[in-house]
Point group: D2
Chain length 303, copies 4
């Protein structure tokens, strides 16, 4: 142990934290929007924003596949996809695996983060930023969506940092914002958002779920264990027409083959339904949470 002296102490609550040994520091600095550390830990290359693990080389596939594929496979033919956030480039990497996707528009507020990804996170984006189907726009995600024409996209993917006071992501978890997302989706479109942990911040997850359910006719929450997050990570789908729970394993398998979806490391048709299962305690919390996140009173992480 004496040979290990650089550590990240990632605070989860005021009374618990995780220690990650830093083998090597690749980058550490501030952009206009956030503080970024790219280091090497036992999880491989490890990205932290404002001291919170965003994704790591060894398990980012679990997060990114779980974010992207349930939503895209639920849609019969997702052609136009909008991604807000996802600066590592791994979200668009997964979207591009669907051969039916014709165009991915990616919006990120932080051009420095994109430059750092290009330089240090090749294992994430794998060159996706240069894919001709991708259009990258440096802009505020909320403003971009509000200015977009109605019914422009089949899928909107929200892959932004957790809502905390002062974060640029705050306005991307509110009722007003989801109304705008609804508007830019086509009539059979659907959205998916990361929705924080269902273990450490279950109330935040439930609030996001409730807020989306006030905008979309079909709302489905699901979650997956991401080792470097030390918890089940939650996602919420808001959909105008398609329901991810009515797809059979056979139909899913058919779509996976038809879209030539290769190189999946975590997601498969056999786990799709299980992602949406939750324990009684979480179901009851969701059931009783009736809090709407609004621009006036946005939901925030507990720490």
């Amino acid at each position: 142990l004496e040979n290990r002296w650089r550590w990240i102490i990632e605070w989860l609550t005021p009374e618990s934290a995780h220690l990650w040994y830093i083998k090597k520091i690749l980058y550490s600095g501030k952009t206009k929007y956030q503080e970024i550390d790219i280091v090497e830990t036992e999880m491989g290359v490890h990205l932290l924003i404002d001291g919170k693990t965003q994704s790591t080389e060894f398990d980012e596939f679990i997060y990114h596949e779980s974010l992207v594929h349930p939503a895209l496979l639920t849609h019969e033919k997702p052609s136009e996809v909008l991604v807000i956030g996802g600066g590592e480039g791994a979200t668009i990497r997964e979207v591009l695996k669907h051969n039916v996707v014709e165009k991915v528009t990616m919006i990120d507020i932080d051009d420095i983060m994109i430059e750092l990804s290009k330089k240090y996170l090749l294992k994430w984006h794998k060159g996706s930023f240069n894919n001709p189907r991708v259009k990258l726009v440096i802009a505020d995600g909320r403003e971009f969506i509000e200015k977009s024409p109605s019914a422009s996209y089949d899928i909107v993917i929200l892959d932004v940092t957790d809502p905390t006071p002062g974060s640029p992501s705050n306005k991307l978890y509110t009722y007003e914002f989801y109304k705008s997302v609804y508007k830019v989706l086509k009539e059979d479109g659907l959205m998916v958002t990361q929705a924080t942990s269902t273990s450490f911040s279950a109330e935040v997850f439930a609030t996001i779920y409730y807020t989306i359910s006030k905008v979309f006719p079909i709302t489905r929450g699901y979650h997956v264990f991401v080792p470097s997050f030390l918890s089940m990570w939650g996602f919420v789908i808001g959909s105008k027409k398609y329901d991810p729970l009515t797809l059979s394993e056979d139909e899913l398998k058919k779509r996976i083959l038809a879209r030539n979806l290769r190189n999946l490391s975590f997601y498969h048709e056999g786990i799709h339904r299980a992602l949406f299962a939750m324990g009684k305690n979480l179901l009851e919390l969701i059931e009783k949470t009736k809090r709407l996140s609004t621009d006036q009173t946005p939901v925030y992480m507990p720490i």
Copy 2:
């Protein structure tokens, strides 16, 4: 933070650890077999054995319900149940909820641990040690099973600490031991064991799975997220006749009602099947792991 000075540093690997703030120390001492700390953290009363979190007041129900109910519900009429370990008394608490259970024999090696449970862990055992259907024996689990007559039990539940060099649990994860368990089970009996983490020690899980599959005709692995373990926790069922995956939700619901299984906080028929689902990466690891844990070369935790 300055007001928080007592901490547990729970080492998960040499390069990562978890910090738990200790609000209060209830007990800290050594028995003949292990070092025991019972403290209060943000997880409520928090039990550690040899510096590893065993269970906590706030989430022990997830672990204990997931350990007990899939196995007991898979059996048509579990009448005689043997529990090895489970010193907190919460495993027998869950077993006793099944009104079809006539007798639970509980074996624990450490009488001091049992005394500490009676004194400090009322929220776990809820008086189960005094239940007339329970017979508690202080003994070595392996010796007890080897001396038991054949075909004595419907269910054997193994709820012992992880296999580490020097631990009394070492001989309870081997081929030879599982052969003995097979012998004491009736012809339609089944066993379930905790099987360490499927995230941090997936190779150990896969080895236990493989070893049990060499003894029982039906082997099923499953896992559940336990917040205080910071990971998916694995279990393996070895069964002579019944398969937990052939039960429909309807049949499960019927059995739950028939057995008057009340006060479940996590498990329900809707999550049963999802517990057995795994990502491609874990399925592939299990597929390729062909390591047998034997008395000569037992499997050990990586740290």
Copy 3:
């Protein structure tokens, strides 16, 4: 390291802390006045009050000898000694080594702390609480002194916890209090107080020094390195007549022999003068610090 999981994190500032491995917990609880932990670390038995190291088995002699002997040897014939605080009993242990001392009155506010000392800190007090020359009074130190008759003592020793908001020690570092101490001292009497660290809280030390210099004609600051405090620890002598810096090594040696002062482990005549030496930076800080600690605006530790 995996075998070490209980730790004290002793915060020195918001940006630095010390980690002490807890081998064993002897006591951990709250009294009416303070939170007390008595544990075993690499420093032997280790006493913390409110999360701050008070003294440890392996180096308490450095602190207690340095607190007591410079003051007592400076006085020609200290007969009546008053000790405020010093609940471990080690301060009176050192005072009693001077055969010229006829009576030691010890005042401590916390009777539980005294009981804990008697039970766990034998190596500190070595039975001194039962010495017939000792009179122990459970009382508020400030009130006791204010009610004492004038000119009662040759020496007053202040051995109380650092001044922090809410601590019972707060009123024992002010101008008004030192005036009362002056009053209860005989015409050739002198006082000594612990005065916090000259490294981590040099401004507090300098403020105490300045405040005492406004009450006593002779004021002398000194300091000594105490390993478990990780810093130089400061003391201030306020004296009506005798000056500790005018004593020659020969005279000190003579007094040590005459008083039959045995079993000293740190202090000796050859180090007396060196204790009062300070670097230019500290001398300059003391020179420029003109802050008076008063009941209205008492001095507090920075953390």
Copy 4:
């Protein structure tokens, strides 16, 4: 605290460590000889080599003034000075303050460390590397001394990292090496070496002291508290003719003025003698330590 996530855990023993919050990372990398981190902590710019604090912006003056001035002032006219190590450039900075010094030869094994100093540690060297009286040689210190002609220097200053297995400094704390140092010193020359902590590694200090005393007729140990080292730091002077303890304060003051020694922040004539004072416990340890550090059995730090 949640806003502080990058920390150095500096292990002092297997059972204690210090936590330093890293505000900013200036450099982190490996040279051929050592692992170097230059970060910003509450101590300002903070240099660590192999995870051990070497010096910090806020208190390096205490270490460097204490290393250099007692030795140089003890010599009547130090003209030729050899410095081994001292890669930050602060040791030569202090040497150059003596106007009687005509030439300083500095030997460092690690040219990358020197480049890093030039880039990041301006506050240490203050341009000293460019002083015309300085000659910098990148070489192995031991080899350089062994090849140097006899009687070349008035003063040799050894400012190298602590002796640990595998460190390039190992051969710079042995009897054989000190014999070589003796040889290159003029007939009235003297050497000084940093000698590790007199608190945490007092046995190492005592061994270095003993070893030097077997080579030089006059040997003197002294120590000073360096806050960022959390302990008293030791030094040993080996001298052929002059004794640092026979200098009066008046003579020291005269030399300081004559040499136009300005801008001292810690050292002054009034603290010179006090640096050499030690408690009974340390004096007794030195007295009883009869261990010779040799090339065959060199002394090592306990951790």
